[in-house]
């Protein structure tokens, strides 16, 4: 994610997680080519590290302060100082290595910070775009030991044969968020737009489901077709709209101190449930029944796979 002017201190220097910063420029072909690689890696390491980019032409003061003498330069930060850095395009595994070096350099206490909070105080929120696997995640959490807060008003159907795990009251969060009072220790599903309305005096653990937008669109279209609803908006237009909205959301989310989020790739979850479930468990405090969670995954539900 691109750091804006003035965010560097809070996001990088004051972070208690390993941070990788990519100093880049628009006129540098390797820098441009590294973008998708960094985005992919950011999702993979989302539960323990952050990756940010700094455009040296837009923030020359930052680049000068850290004596960036070439681009792309990748610096790994831990506890406010640079642990290691390299200039020139790197492979994904080399980038990961930088972050791991930073992780080893972090004081142990900081890493364990999250575990100190009392399990029962948290509200676990499952969010993402529609059709990104949120219902599935709700079922997994239920199996793993976090009860789901749901009224089961929306019935299971061909699109979600195991139920939607929704709570009607959640949909009115922007006007009435009193349901939150009953939600500590439970998990609840909500559309990502509503996260902005959660009362800030509580702490939430957000599981953000991410899925290839093309797949989401296909799944959505299949669902609309089954329900006889037609839409005139072309897929590419829809994709652009969704992506723009997501981008602003992804920029907003990490700035919220009451929301502790973890990204879960739907596609990776399907490919390697065991590994992803262990990551989720670590993020949620390490008390879940991982085997039961992985057992919930039924690959036959994974119908709209990207070609």
């Amino acid at each position: 994610m691109e750091l804006q002017s003035g965010q560097f201190r809070e996001r990088v220097l004051e972070s208690n997680r390993p941070v990788l910063v990519d100093f880049w420029a628009t006129w540098c072909p390797p820098c441009r080519m590294m973008k998708p690689v960094l985005e992919k890696l950011a999702v993979k390491v989302a539960d323990w590290a952050d990756i940010y980019s700094v455009n040296i032409d837009r923030q020359p003061d930052v680049a000068a302060e850290f004596q960036i003498s070439g681009v792309p330069t990748f610096c790994a930060w831990a506890g406010g100082s640079i642990v290691t850095q390299r200039t020139g395009a790197l492979t994904e595994s080399q980038l990961l290595q930088l972050l791991q070096t930073a992780r080893e350099a972090l004081p142990a206490a900081a890493a364990d910070d999250a575990a100190d909070v009392n399990e029962r105080d948290w509200v676990t929120v499952v969010s993402g775009l529609p059709r990104s696997g949120t219902s599935l995640m709700m079922r997994m959490l239920e199996a793993g030991g976090i009860p789901a807060l749901t009224d089961r008003q929306r019935q299971a159907d061909a699109d979600n044969p195991n139920g939607y795990y929704e709570l009607e009251a959640v949909k009115q969060t922007d006007t009435d968020s009193s349901w939150v009072e009953t939600a500590a220790g439970s998990s609840v599903k909500m559309v990502f737009r509503l996260l902005r309305h959660l009362p800030e005096d509580r702490r939430y653990r957000v599981i953000l489901m991410r899925r290839d937008v093309g797949e989401i669109l296909r799944s959505q279209r299949a669902m609309l077709d089954r329900n006889g609803v037609s839409t005139d908006i072309a897929d590419d237009r829809m994709r652009a709209m969704i992506q723009a909205e997501l981008q602003s959301f992804y920029a907003w989310l990490p700035q919220q101190s009451h929301l502790d989020s973890v990204n879960v790739s739907y596609n990776e979850l399907m490919e390697d449930p065991g590994r992803i479930v262990r990551q989720i468990d670590r993020h949620l405090g390490g008390t879940l029944d991982c085997d039961a969670m992985a057992g919930v995954i039924e690959p036959q539900l994974y119908r709209q796979r990207a070609a």
Binding site: T26, P29, P36, I56
Partner: protein, 492 residues
């Protein structure tokens, strides 16, 4: 978020050629010293067209929201954008001038008229009659109500070129002024030298003139897919630069190749000149913050576009001889006069192809979405990959619709090239980033060609120069007739 979905709606003043960067701009290349004085602050711009706005953040205005950019079928175009077309008299230059002028660009073209002489030297001429540049410009004025400006000027006349660029202040520059023939460059030393001189030195001189007089103009540089060659390993032909996740592994170590230029393996001295052009442009972007799209174009065919189809007075030149023609155009001409379609060697050589109409759309879309300062990028401008044998078969099949019985002939390959090879072309950027959608399919374009070339006066012109169709130029330098290996009538 954008409302129109145009490919360039979200681009900002960062890449607009109508703004001037203010404050400290230093020229640095990747991996080279990038120190900048901290006190300089961020870059700001001033709009040459709307100076009343003052200095502002170049990210704050998108093309979509700027009153100077107008929506067209090929994306937003800077209203009255000043486009300099180098080589406007050529096969591509003229249709592009018509298209851009019609979309509201202010077009100025130059040409030294060399192509007409070179084709005449071969004993050939454009198969579709073309007027003088003055006649063409007059026709455009009369029938399209557009003013295209033309000046006869040689790209090699560097002082004149620099003066022209200083005077016109182009916002986009299309470099089509190169000698475009592989066999010509292999014919003898004089022609090889002439090709390299014109193409390499001409482009180099252009880059200096742009640096000095119009550094914010985007340069659309025409390259060719032939720069890549056809690697026998089957390595994909990426779009000029390796993708970010390309990795080189050797002796247990690994390195990223992301963003590096992919290997070039040109297939004639003409292609060598194009590779050199690629490097010159790449370096100029690095050293001077120039900006360029390097277009690796497939073999072009056809003679149709929205403008060309309006009136024969708009005809672009159409060559079919061994040196200046390209394969699809030549096959149709051969079919029209009952001459066997000549395949070199096995005919399994695969190449990328694109119609003239689609190529013009691509170039227009690139002009509409200029690169950012210092950005060098490459697109593979190709819609289809065919083997020569497949093309012969398709042309023969379509010829039957016109009651023409066509033979195909394999002849000894005059070129030095691999005849059996894998060929995987990556061509995604134009569709993904520039909104390109093909408007013309092979069969339709070839049918259109048959209709044009079967007109009696055009057919007579082909018959007149049929001796120029059969190849004579060998890459080896040897002389003598090429041997016919096999002749057959393709099955229906």
């Amino acid at each position: 978020m954008t409302n129109t979905g145009c490919h360039n709606a979200g681009q900002t003043c960062w890449s607009c050629p109508a703004v001037e960067f203010k404050g400290h701009v230093d020229f640095r290349a990747c991996g080279q010293a990038a120190f900048r004085k901290a006190a300089q602050g961020q870059l700001v711009v001033e709009c040459r067209r709307r100076p009343e706005i003052g200095y502002f953040d170049p990210n704050s205005i998108t093309f979509e929201s700027c009153s100077e950019w107008k929506e067209t079928p090929d994306g937003y175009l800077l209203d009255g954008m000043k486009v300099l077309i180098l080589g406007m008299d050529g096969y591509l230059g003229w249709p592009l001038a018509l298209k851009l002028a019609r979309q509201g660009c202010r077009v100025l073209g130059i040409d030294n008229m060399m192509r007409r002489d070179l084709v005449a030297e071969r004993g050939a001429d454009s198969i579709t009659p073309i007027g003088s540049m003055e006649e063409r410009v007059a026709a455009a004025r009369e029938k399209l109500d557009v003013e295209i400006e033309f000046r006869e000027l040689d790209l090699m006349d560097r002082p004149a070129l620099a003066a022209l660029i200083e005077e016109f202040q182009p916002e986009s520059i299309v470099q089509f002024a190169e000698i475009p023939s592989a066999p010509y460059s292999m014919a003898d030393v004089e022609r090889a030298v002439s090709t390299v001189q014109n193409n390499v030195v001409g482009t180099l001189g252009l880059l200096f003139a742009v640096r000095d007089h119009a550094p914010d103009a985007s340069i659309i540089k025409l390259g060719t897919m032939g720069e890549y060659g056809s690697p026998l390993t089957g390595r994909p032909l990426f779009e000029g630069l390796f993708p970010g996740d390309a990795v080189l592994q050797y002796q247990g170590q690994e390195w990223s190749l992301g963003g590096e230029l992919t290997p070039r393996d040109p297939v004639s001295f003409y292609h060598v000149s194009k590779v050199q052009g690629t490097f010159s442009v790449y370096e100029a972007c690095k050293y001077w913050w120039l900006r360029s799209y390097d277009v690796m174009q497939g073999v072009i065919y056809g003679n149709s576009s929205a403008e060309l189809d309006l009136d024969p007075a708009f005809n672009t030149r159409f060559d079919i001889d061994e040196w200046w023609g390209t394969v699809v155009n030549r096959f149709v001409a051969q079919a029209v006069i009952g001459m066997p379609l000549t395949i070199y060697g096995s005919g399994s050589q695969k190449r990328g192809y694109i119609t003239l109409r689609d190529a013009m759309q691509c170039i227009t879309r690139l002009i509409a979405a200029p690169p950012e300062p210092g950005q060098y990028d490459v697109v593979n401008q190709v819609t289809d990959v065919f083997s020569v044998r497949e093309i012969a078969q398709m042309v023969a099949t379509i010829a039957r619709e016109f009651d023409l019985e066509v033979e195909v002939q394999r002849i000894e390959n005059p070129r030095v090239e691999s005849e059996e090879h894998p060929y995987e072309v990556i061509h995604e950027k134009l569709a993904d980033r520039f909104g390109f959608e093909s408007e013309s399919a092979f069969a339709d374009e070839v049918r259109h060609l048959f209709r044009v070339l079967l007109q009696p006066e055009i057919r007579a012109r082909i018959i007149n120069q049929q001796d120029t169709l059969f190849p004579k130029t060998r890459w080896s330098g040897e002389h003598g007739e090429l041997e016919v290996l096999e002749t057959w009538k393709p099955a229906a």
